[in-house]
Symmetry: C2
Subunit: 339 residues, 2 copies
């Protein structure tokens, strides 16, 4: 059963999930799959239409007009190898004064992006990406109803180098019974800035990036995409709402569609200009209860996996970025990708 333990030296809660050892992994890990293995993949892929019985019970689906169980456009199921489980209790069960631990209470859901096994997110239509974002929003809103959950991480892994174990494109949602230390730190930085200036740090950063312009990748009425001034990794790209007032769980559909359009544009640039890189993607949200606070602004972070963190990053916690954000943004603006 999953549990959480507290690292006294750093202040981090660590998730222990022994079950996840059992996840499937492709053996020919770094070789491109043959046509035969792709067909075999699809036959046993638990996320493909027709294989619905291979997943735990469906949580939600956007269905077509037909009544077939396989006629869905987006489908949400519990992760079969969950990091945290709703059945667990968040009860503390410390082993002495320094060994703090608690039950692995939480939620771990999979949002299958589309019925198509081989179509990556960059190749999806704006309609389909909007459906995915609406589904993420709906599941986030529902999970907020469980008051044991303190924080929510909405994310996607693309490619094996980014930690994916199943090829069929999907997102994941993990709800944790603790506020991650990283979020506490971001909260402290942003509230300190708010107290000092009365402004939202993220909104001011966005304004500065837009007025400087050197690191902007794309813009629309509602959203801007840029490589942040102090990006931790090459081609890290943020998509930030420009004028929105609503927190993510209340963002209207028309704005989710505008986000889908921007996300599709940025992912297509990465796909074509960087040759379909592995990447992680996360929607950064405030801790529970702070959704309406004006110190924070939800946003989306795309982090291509173009470099390997090594001993310096482990030892110091600092990042080494080999590509200046101005170069990365300029490359993406002028590249041969769809714009």
């Amino acid at each position: 059963m999953p549990q959480l333990r507290f690292d006294q030296t750093t202040g981090d809660w660590v998730v222990f999930a022994p079950l996840r050892k059992l996840r499937p992994h492709r053996n020919e890990r770094f070789a491109p799959p043959s046509a035969e293995s792709r067909a075999a993949d699809r036959a046993i892929c638990p996320f493909c239409p027709g294989n619905e019985s291979l997943t735990p019970s469906e949580i939600f689906a956007v269905r077509g007009d037909g009544r077939s169980v396989s006629d869905w456009r987006v489908r949400v199921v519990p992760n079969k190898f969950p990091a945290l489980m709703i059945e667990e209790s968040p009860r503390r069960c410390d082993e002495g004064p320094l060994f703090w631990q608690m039950g692995g209470c939480g939620a771990h859901e999979v949002v299958v992006e589309s019925p198509e096994h081989d179509r990556v997110l960059a190749q999806q239509s704006v309609d389909q990406i909007t459906l995915v974002l609406e589904t993420l929003q709906r599941r986030y809103r529902d999970l907020m109803g469980d008051r044991r959950f303190q924080s929510f991480t909405l994310f996607k892994n693309h490619g094996e180098g980014a930690g994916t174990s199943l090829q069929h494109p999907h997102w994941q949602i993990i709800a944790t019974p603790v506020v991650p230390r990283q979020l506490r730190l971001k909260h402290a930085q942003a509230t300190e800035y708010f107290d000092r200036t009365g402004d939202c740090l993220y909104r001011v950063l966005l304004d500065e990036e837009l007025s400087c312009g050197l690191r902007v990748v794309a813009q629309s009425d509602a959203f801007a995409a840029f490589v942040p001034f102090a990006a931790h990794t090459p081609f890290e790209t943020w998509i930030v709402p420009k004028g929105l007032k609503e927190p993510f769980h209340e963002t209207p559909s028309r704005d989710l569609r505008a986000l889908a359009t921007m996300l599709q544009g940025v992912l297509r640039k990465l796909y074509s200009d960087l040759d379909n890189p592995d990447f992680n993607l996360a929607i950064d949200l405030p801790p529970r209860g702070d959704e309406d606070q004006s110190y924070f602004l939800w946003h989306l972070r795309i982090v291509p996996r173009l470099s390997t963190p090594a001993g310096f990053e482990l030892g110091s916690g600092m990042s080494i970025n080999t590509v200046l954000p101005e170069e990365a943004a300029s490359f993406l603006r002028s590249g041969n990708g769809a714009s």
Copy 2:
């Protein structure tokens, strides 16, 4: 030229080192090298004896009796693709109120472990490992003399999955002109504990691990190796001094020899029980000026790269560990490795 930029949202300084893009990388990245390519590797390996002219000017070497330039046992050279450079100034050159940056001042040295291209650290003698530790200590002591440097990271990458770009076994030292946020946080945790209890958090954790025993991997008079209660990754192992009073830069040679013995033992266990895994290794040191403070205890961390951090880790900063520390320690204790 390298520079550092400040991430206002997290409080991290990020190193920008465009030069490091040019580092050599094996093209057949994940294929085992053939005998021919290994021989070719050695011919052009800048760390092999005879190729001394391929490195920047030597900083230090432990030499044999002979006077040949190639007769050395351990050799220290500047990193040819440095993350930070001693020639740079740590002068701040902010671009407006939120875009803080400074010159990429620092040091980045390579400690070549031995003349042997193909012998990994686990296969080295205790004598040779002691020489390496003495050399690291000597270089750390020397770099401490440059008061521009605020923090020192001593580390090693083993295997391409751990970020190594050159196969010939080596360590690295990076001195930074800032205290990394991670170190500030560890400092805050440890000083808060010290203020509250009068004890060193690390010493109490060590005592608790030893008296519990479930996670202990090996022990000698001077050192203990254990998998910490809240290890962030599978088989993360710490080596902590048991009775030492001296900070790392003043640790006597006989204790460095005891550390070498313990390190060799643990690395041999990992090598044989986990089939020579990629790993990172770091010596955790306090920030400049706190070397003699009793709130901290230097130690060595070995982190095998058995799992891939993905979108949840990116989004939340939390880790998911699939192997319980008790299981990992028990496996290493009872495994078929040298003990």
